[in-house]
């Protein structure tokens, strides 16, 4: 199957500054892909190149089979984009703001009216649709932004930092809405630096650093690659000196002892029972056994830590 978004050697330079360097990206139909990286790492520039809003210095991109440079209108007709800190005309109501978008998309008036009510209802904004957008809270504006994206019934939705500045409750709701897009068969490209949120919704992630895509894959694959394993087991046991025993447990990749008697294991799978069995078999006293999944934060932190120590 053809990928929905494909780039090869995509590069953007502003003078000496390299914003995006030799990006090879493939996003398949129906998946939620997370573009991760600190501010200024080239996520937004990549998005603008995909939409044909800025010209690449080198390389090429295809979105739904179209070249954004040559066929920007075809691309933009099928791709919904929600910029970071999305803005609306404050003096116009939510409905009027969306009506303008509908007109720009050449959607006939009668159909536009129906679609607007539909998307606003879906985003939970039906009751406030005739209020000026200037009175909307941050969370409502973000949802209005998503309504604006859905209005044109896109095949691809590109969301740039959609949850930034939202309170946890609103962010959680917004992530649910993004999962809803996936259920509708919309391919989602999500750019963010909020790792745990990306982890919560994305099928695959790509890690950006200084304009380069340094890591790419499913979360499991990334944590195996960077951390060796995505499972965390914390063991408190007596007596000390059980590292050797714990390291021998099948699946355990690494053992650290923050203090005597406390062991932290990184494992490729859940091997709690085996750990417990071995500790007891050694005549040890098992005081506590805690289990945790690794988070993307850890992958991220560890990757950059290693990258620094290598340099």
């Amino acid at each position: 199957m053809n990928p929905v978004i494909e780039t090869e050697g995509l590069t953007k330079r502003y003078g000496d500054l390299v914003a995006v360097e030799h990006l090879n990206l493939r996003v398949e139909a129906g998946e939620v892909f997370g573009l991760l990286g600190p501010n200024g790492s080239g996520k937004t520039t990549t998005i603008l190149m995909l939409l044909g809003l800025t010209e690449p210095t080198a390389g090429w991109a295809r979105v739904l089979g179209y070249d954004p440079l040559r066929h920007p209108l075809e691309v933009k007709r099928r791709v919904g984009y929600m910029p970071d800190a999305v803005g609306f005309y404050d003096e116009l109501s939510a409905r009027e703001n969306l009506l303008y978008t509908a007109r720009l998309n050449a959607i006939p008036r009668a159909e536009a009216d129906a679609r607007i009510v539909d998307v606003l209802t879906r985003m939970g904004l039906k009751d406030v649709m005739d209020k000026p957008a200037g009175q909307f809270s941050r969370g409502m504006r973000q949802r209005l932004g998503l309504a604006d994206v859905l209005l044109k019934r896109p095949s691809v939705a590109i969301l740039d930092e959609p949850t930034i500045g939202l309170d946890p409750e609103a962010a959680h709701e917004f992530l649910d809405l993004i999962r809803g897009l996936k259920r509708d068969g919309i391919t989602v490209l999500l750019a963010s630096h909020l790792l745990h949120q990306v982890q919560a919704v994305c099928d695959r992630v790509g890690l950006f650093s200084n304009g380069k895509l340094v890591l790419e894959g499913t979360f499991e694959a990334l944590s195996t690659k960077v951390l060796g394993g995505s499972y965390r087991i914390q063991v408190e046991a007596k007596p000390d000196g059980l590292e050797r025993v714990l390291k021998a447990v099948p699946g355990v990749v690494r053992v650290t002892t923050p203090r005597p008697g406390l062991y932290q294991l990184e494992a490729q799978h859940d091997c709690r029972s085996e750990v417990a069995k071995r500790v007891v078999a050694e005549g040890g006293q098992l005081l506590e056994l805690r289990f945790d999944r690794a988070s993307l934060d850890e992958v991220y932190a560890r990757y950059f830590q290693e990258a620094r120590s290598e340099a």
Binding site: L53, T54, L73, K76, G87, R103, A106
Partner: protein, 325 residues
């Protein structure tokens, strides 16, 4: 690499949205009240003066626009002079934040991610500005005409209406110059306050200082004058050339000739001819509209040219701008 699809896709959507915004904005309402008040005041004063000469002047309707007014002891400029002063204000007010305002509101990237080209955005904003100016001017002109008929009891003749329409066109082009200028500043400068100031600075420069500067330039040249009449004429023409680099001069010259059929030249001999006519040495003749048009053709071309140049430059700058602020 050639891009495909029409650059005008979505143009009318932008035009209608901007036009509706202009018509409902508080900014526009303030300007409308201001212009309405000046219009009513000048027309009232003008008709007061003109009542005494109804029947003597064949172009009495056109005089409503051009006659300098007196209310009591206070001197008021004519309607046309007021327009020369107010149109820049309206043009600047309509466009000074048209592009940078969208960046500031963060609506620009959302609008540009719709299936339209940038061309449509800038062109749409400019056309909507012109349409707003045109609507306002037309309403104003009809209002003045109506007031004139009411107060003077004189119905304008077809040739007067024709001149009036060309006066409207010239005024629209003049307003367009300031609209395009303000739009250019709104593309090149990031803050609306800065672009408004820059546009107003240019306006002040031409209203106040250009007269002085062109006068100074003339004086410098005149110091070397030999006293031969031919040279004097050349100096005067030079002075006029300098002065005509200002859109304000171009506009005032075009409307004077368009609204006064007896104006036969805009050159340095204008004063002399008027004196000779007054003294009875030359017969007073009236130019037909076509001849008046021919007289101001260069001025009108200059105004339209300025609009096109300013807009084209703004267009090029906007096309090359990065979407990210």
């Amino acid at each position: 690499m050639k891009r495909e699809g029409s650059p005008w896709t979505g143009l009318w959507a932008v035009v209608f949205k901007e036009f509706a915004d202009h018509l409902s904005s508080a900014r526009m309402r303030v300007l409308e009240i201001l212009i309405l008040l000046t219009a009513v005041a000048t027309v009232y004063a003008a008709t007061q003066t003109l009542r005494t000469v109804v029947g003597e002047d064949p172009f009495i309707y056109l005089r409503i626009f051009t006659i300098p007014n007196k209310i009591g002891e206070a001197e008021l400029p004519s309607f046309v002079a007021f327009m020369g002063f107010l149109m820049p204000l309206v043009g600047i007010a309509l466009a000074f934040d048209s592009v940078n305002g969208e960046y500031l509101k963060r609506t620009m990237s959302r609008v540009l991610s719709q299936p339209i080209y940038r061309d449509a955005v800038l062109m749409g904003k400019f056309l909507a500005g012109l349409a707003t100016l045109g609507t306002m001017l037309l309403a104003l002109w009809l209002l003045v005409t109506g007031l004139g008929i009411l107060r003077l009891g004189v119905v304008p003749e077809a040739r007067e209406v024709g001149r009036g329409l060309f006066f409207l066109l010239a005024t629209l082009a003049y307003g367009g110059v300031w609209l395009a200028l303000a739009m250019l500043f709104s593309v090149t400068l990031r803050q609306p306050a800065t672009s408004a100031l820059a546009a107003i600075a240019v306006w002040l420069f031409f209203t106040v200082f250009w007269e002085i500067i062109s006068g100074l330039l003339f004086n410098v040249v005149a110091a070397f004058s030999t006293g031969v009449i031919q040279d004097e004429l050349q100096y005067l023409q030079l002075r006029q050339f300098f002065s005509r680099l200002s859109p304000i001069t171009l506009y005032s010259e075009s409307v004077i000739a368009l609204l006064n059929p007896e104006i036969r030249t805009l050159g340095p001999l204008l004063g002399a001819i008027t004196q000779l006519e007054a003294a009875g040495a030359l017969p007073r003749t009236l130019l037909p509209l076509s001849q008046s048009l021919l007289l101001v053709w260069p001025q009108l071309t200059g105004l339209f040219g300025a609009v096109i140049l300013l807009f084209a430059y703004a267009y090029v700058r906007f096309q090359r701008q990065e979407v990210r602020a």
